[in-house]
Amino acid sequence: MIKKEITIKIDNKKYKGFEGESILDIASRNNIFIPSLCHHPDLDIKANCRVCVVEIKGLNKLCTSCSTVACDGMEIYTNSPKVQVSRNTNLKLIFSAHIEKCIDCTSRFDCELLSLARRYSLNIATFKDRKGKRKTYKFSNSVEIDGTQCIDCKNCVDACSNIQKINYLKKDGKGFKQEIKATKDKNIDCIYCGQCTLHCPVASAQEQCDFSEVEKILENRKGKKVIAFFAPSVRVSIGEAFGLPYGYNSSGLITASLKRLGFDEIFDVNFGADITTMVEAEELLERLGDKKAVLPMITSCCPAWVKYVEFYRPDLIPNLTTSRSPQIHLGGIIKTYWANKLNLKGEDIITVSIMPCTAKKHEANRDNLKIDKMKPVDHVLTVRELAFLIKKNGIDFKNLKEEKTNSLANDGSGAAVIYGASGGVMESALRTANSVICFSSKAKICHSRLEFKEVRGMEGVKEASLNLGGKKLNVAVVSGIGNIAGVLDNLDKYQYIEVMACPGGCIGGGGQIIPSSREIVKKRMAGLYVDDKRHKIRKAHENEEVLNVLDYIKNKKMYTKLMHTSYKKSNRGD
């Protein structure tokens, strides 16, 4: 259906729009600035911050531009005296509901509140801070809601309930006393996905930061090597924080900036992802060849999904692949294989992982992932934390000379980089499983297939019926835990399922650069597939370094210890 075109006037200039569009939609498309805080393109419009108010000719009261549909002939003023009083007063009220903790705030350089205060020359202390005594609620070591900073927009509640359908966060109380808390319902637990943090406009919901710990370590190494590595999805998003285009591949810049921050060696988690693919593809083929094996096999590299299974569906634990995740694989390899090559002890290495994820902080703390009492990953920083550290240290990210990651464990295949997108883990495993089955000559028909486009994209649930060595393989890919229900109800239909708790996969992760939205995630996704094509090697098993490492680990009889893990039923808060 073609939408009817309309003409409206904004600040005395004519603009075209379409019937049904909000005033804010038309204004943003035409680069007319209207401030907004509670508005997020992925959430239902709530219109509660009242910062985007505009005056419409003929109406006494103001209207919120996010919620008001533009009509043909409407005359709108974005900065009339009424708008100024109201917008400025609302902002001043919001400033005083948000205790400024700017010094340690990872949003300091990109703070919407401060930028609005500057833009309109507003005194942020017009009213007294009123939330000094509010509590901070911490969920595992991943996510926190700092009540002293909350501006009551409830984006976090909507992200948790409407997008993720977890319903963990609730508004408690009413009026000026209300606060966002965990639900009292004992059957609901946080999965640490961090979507609340990704949708909070003021960093009240945010990751539990680890950057100051890491700073301390870098200042005083105590003779240890400090290693950093970054996830596949990080390379296509961090540039946004420095004005680079969406989807721009910043691998070389990230490496250079991490070196500037003082890390001794930089690795690429792509290598870990290739390892994961090998382990997971092997397990998939084993399960498919064993009539007694539990199917469908379900991916486990998303720690929020693992938490979901362990808390909500422990009956599905046997379905999870026992393969460890890329960051844990890589951390383990660095503390064993790489340490050995350099004549170091694993204990003398501190690993810091840069992740698009808040749940990875929880994962890194899991006891059963330890290797001889060593944590494979000592600290996890979100992409936001890294961007903050780079800015804080005055590093001119954009203009750095690109550098390469450590060559002992290379920067992975094309199959590794697509781990960052929903469907990527499955596609990587299928590329390898398909080839392995061909070479093993077990297959009746051999399709050496590279791309599996049917599992790519932003859709909540993608299904495909594929051919693996002449046998039919039914797969499902869940993008966003809010879409899980339909797949869980029909498990029998599938042999292999990928689940990523965040919409779009890790590129839409809870630790990603803000702002993030479905549209932005799509652009990051495109960046990953461009990078995949750029790689000469696009299958994990063709990465010779990976094969060398796996041989080493097998020879040292460390395979199970380094490559696999186990799961157990989890209680609330575990």
Binding site: R130, G175, F176
Partner: protein
């Protein structure tokens, strides 16, 4: 029974008696015109604003007529279900007898009684908030549009009326409607009575006719003790606005600080918390009062807060917050009013 109830209502010019005075026939036509197999009628018996007692009075005295009005409205829109939403007091007192009346007209199968949640406050009488409450959602208003007449309860076209409005519908249907309304007349914190009188009387006429015209200097708050307009003795020739209450204050004996404090405290404690201007604004008005007392009126932040409440609140209750406070300052307050030996007196 009248043949064409809609045109009768239109002719009688019935308006909503919840306070907003919206023409009744317009709502009916809108619900009727909206396509949909399932439509709902919601009866608002939340009556929560201080100073207003008329819905309780109708429930006490005219339940049979009320049920008739409900039936007529329900028949007109072919309501699938009728939700009668009552505050705790009304729920305890009248639920059973209303149900008995409903049975007599064959309506009881359709009726569902809903108790206004305890401590839900003032906002829980706002119509879209009631829809959220019935649906089990968060207590707070909805964005309009969509209007409840198009997309109301559970997304279906919904007619929402106050108790007095539906009572009036029954009077129209019985050809007994005489363009009267209920007035609650109070002397600060005390209800003098509910009176049924022509709706076009001036405030002064109501006071005179009900023998409530004070012998002392006074001022009134009209249309609810929380957000009603405050008027002085020379401003009594207008009609009674809103939900029809008049509360008399003694000009010489009243305590301005206490009065202002009561208003500000009421709104601070009753704001649902949804939007910034109301949640934060009512809190700050009260805070400034606590800090400065009546001197707050010279603080420029106060005017900004009040303007902002009116201009940008999410719902009508927020917009109405400054009414009492500002009209009191404009029409009544003078530092001299209460000091007997004032040199300006």
């Amino acid at each position: 029974m009248t043949r064409n109830i809609l045109s009768e209502i239109k002719k009688a010019a019935l308006v909503g008696r919840g306070g907003a005075c919206f023409p009744v026939h317009t709502k009916w036509e809108a619900v009727k015109a909206t396509k949909g197999k399932i439509k709902y009628l919601v009866v608002n018996g939340a009556e929560g604003e201080p100073g207003i007692y008329k819905d309780g009075y109708i429930l006490e005295n005219y339940r049979k007529d009320l049920i008739l009005g409900i039936k007529i409205a329900s028949d007109f829109i072919k309501a699938d279900k009728i939700y009668i939403y009552l505050n705790l007091n009304f729920f305890n007192k009248y639920k059973q007898s209303l149900n008995r009346e409903a049975k007599k007209v064959g309506l009881s199968d359709k009726i569902i009684f809903i108790l206004k949640p305890i401590n839900s406050g003032y906002i829980a009488g706002e119509e879209t908030t009631i829809l959220n409450i019935i649906e089990g959602k968060e207590i707070g208003p909805r964005i309009r549009p969509p209007f409840p007449t198009c997309e109301g309860l559970f997304g279906k076209p919904t007619l929402i009326h106050n108790i007095e409005t539906l009572y009036n519908v029954s009077l129209v249907a019985q050809e007994r409607y005489e363009n009267k309304r209920f007035y609650s007349v109070n002397v600060i914190n005390k209800n003098k009575g509910v009176y049924f009188l022509p709706s076009d009387l001036s405030i002064e006429e109501v006071l005179v006719k009900t023998n409530n015209y004070p012998s002392y200097d006074f001022f009134v708050q009209v249309g609810g003790d929380a957000d009603g307009q405050v008027l002085n003795m020379n401003q009594l020739d207008s009609c009674v606005s809103g939900a029809g209450s008049i509360t008399i204050h003694n000009l010489r004996n009243h305590n301005p600080e206490k009065l202002i404090k009561n208003w500000l405290k009421f709104f601070k404690d009753n704001s649902c918390g949804n939007c910034t201007p109301c949640r934060e604004g009512t809190y700050r008005l009260y805070e400034l009062f606590e800090e400065q007392g009546i001197d707050m009126i010279r603080d420029p932040r106060v005017q900004d807060l009040c303007d902002n409440l009116y201009l940008s609140s999410f719902c009508a209750l927020g917009s109405a917050v400054p009414n009492a406070f500002l009209s009191y300052l404009k029409n009544v307050y003078s530092p001299c009013n209460t000091c007997k030996s004032c040199k300006y007196d």
